[in-house]
Symmetry: C2
Subunit: 305 residues, 2 copies
Amino acid sequence: MAYPDQVLIKEVGPRDGLQNEKTFLPTEKKVEWIDHLSESGLSYIEITSFVNPKWIPALADCYEVATQIRRKPGVTYAALVPNMKGLEKALKADVDEVAVFMSASSTHSRKNINKTIDETLPVLEETVREARSAGKKVRGYLSTVFGCPYEGEVSPEEVLRITDRLLEMGVYEVSLGDTIGAGNPLQVESSLEEWCSRVAPEHLALHFHNTRGMALANTLVGLKAGIHTYDGALGGLGGCPYAKGASGNVATDDLVHMLHEMGIRTGVDLSSLAEAGEFIESALGNPLDSHHMEVFRASKEKDHC
Amino acid sequence: MAYPDQVLIKEVGPRDGLQNEKTFLPTEKKVEWIDHLSESGLSYIEITSFVNPKWIPALADCYEVATQIRRKPGVTYAALVPNMKGLEKALKADVDEVAVFMSASSTHSRKNINKTIDETLPVLEETVREARSAGKKVRGYLSTVFGCPYEGEVSPEEVLRITDRLLEMGVYEVSLGDTIGAGNPLQVESSLEEWCSRVAPEHLALHFHNTRGMALANTLVGLKAGIHTYDGALGGLGGCPYAKGASGNVATDDLVHMLHEMGIRTGVDLSSLAEAGEFIESALGNPLDSHHMEVFRASKEKDHC
């Protein structure tokens, strides 16, 4: 299959990128960062997560963030909701879209949300139904699809079963998450071959982490399989708290750079993304880990020589 | 085309990785590092460069390194030689193989070695002839094949012309170098399609830098094109002096990890490679930049918790 002409990038940095930050980033910094992102040509930004602040203190200001950002016309501002309680708050904040999430591995599911897979499905079903009654589109995240930190291999059949269930509930797209960056290109190729033969690729998105550096290689495989929606976090933010810098989401900027070099449009302006990157690295007090940001910093240092 | 069962990894860290280091790594550290590498299952190590120390002071001890390392049976110890003078010294040190190099971009060639492409060819021709008379196999490096820092695009036709000339001289393999990490998967795919239709893939190797994070994606394309030899530097050492950490060679360990996960054999033992990595990062006083080393460090920290 040929590469597509255009790809949709969904920026998850403000949620998936920030959720593991140990120091609380002040609300006004989050808002300003999201406003920067809105100016970069991104058409979809997941801005926060309406979960219990006990679970994710870093995003305790979800309502404030959602109500204080500048909503740029044409940009979809989405938020994660785990259940009805989160949904109610998200609806009150009037986000454009919500996303529900669950795991394809039962051990990961129990450790993450203290529920089995089959206990989670009805919770999401209700949440999706209510969100749709309120006029919101709902995205689904399915995590650990290429490997689980506790169970190792995850059955592609189970991934397909849950994906089908999520789509039946009325989720318009399932973002298949390689939560621990374990998927290798051969595995992604064979899994997608199976999944895409049974689910229309337009209902699937890919959410890679770059723990082992394979995210762009896996993206290439996804493109060839006909998947045209990819999640990323600017600068590779996020990931595993015990492996600083190693395990973040694929960097949106590196992803966009590769796609543009391949002649694939994203609508995103890379230099504007680098400015948004400079803002957040200064706010967090840590340099971002993407290749694009490293090259950007190096080019500025060179200019100063 | 299917992926191969086996791939040959050529470790260039002691040469391409160290040549830009600003502080001189003591000879005994280089020797000890190469001895570590020899134990990791690598079958080919480029140990140094017999160039004028004025050009590359970091490798001024080329002769000492080549004569002091422990030569493990079954491992090929190679060295770079720019010309007859370098070759003579390399022969005196009795390296197993030599490698000659030139650029596919005339501006890069003039800036790098003060010679045009057509002035370089006869120099290499003489060097290759003499090396072969002395019973040594000769490898060829062709740099900037997917882009030049001065000229931008490099003509795939010119790459093919020089590759042909190098093979005619008696070089057994041309390592096509993406010196600035500019090649994107679509470009690599279309270039290799052309090159491999006119040169047998077994005479080609790929030498990616990871400046933009695309090295593993490009490797995937190379594998599909039928190329089975890949250069790497442990931990992603090397690269551009003004962009610390950003522009090194593809990390051998990340490359080997991906290949193994895909079921492709390399003969290299990853944990032994990590130990060699720990040695060199302690000797250089800088953590290595590969994903594998980051995960390795994180797993040790976790063990200590």
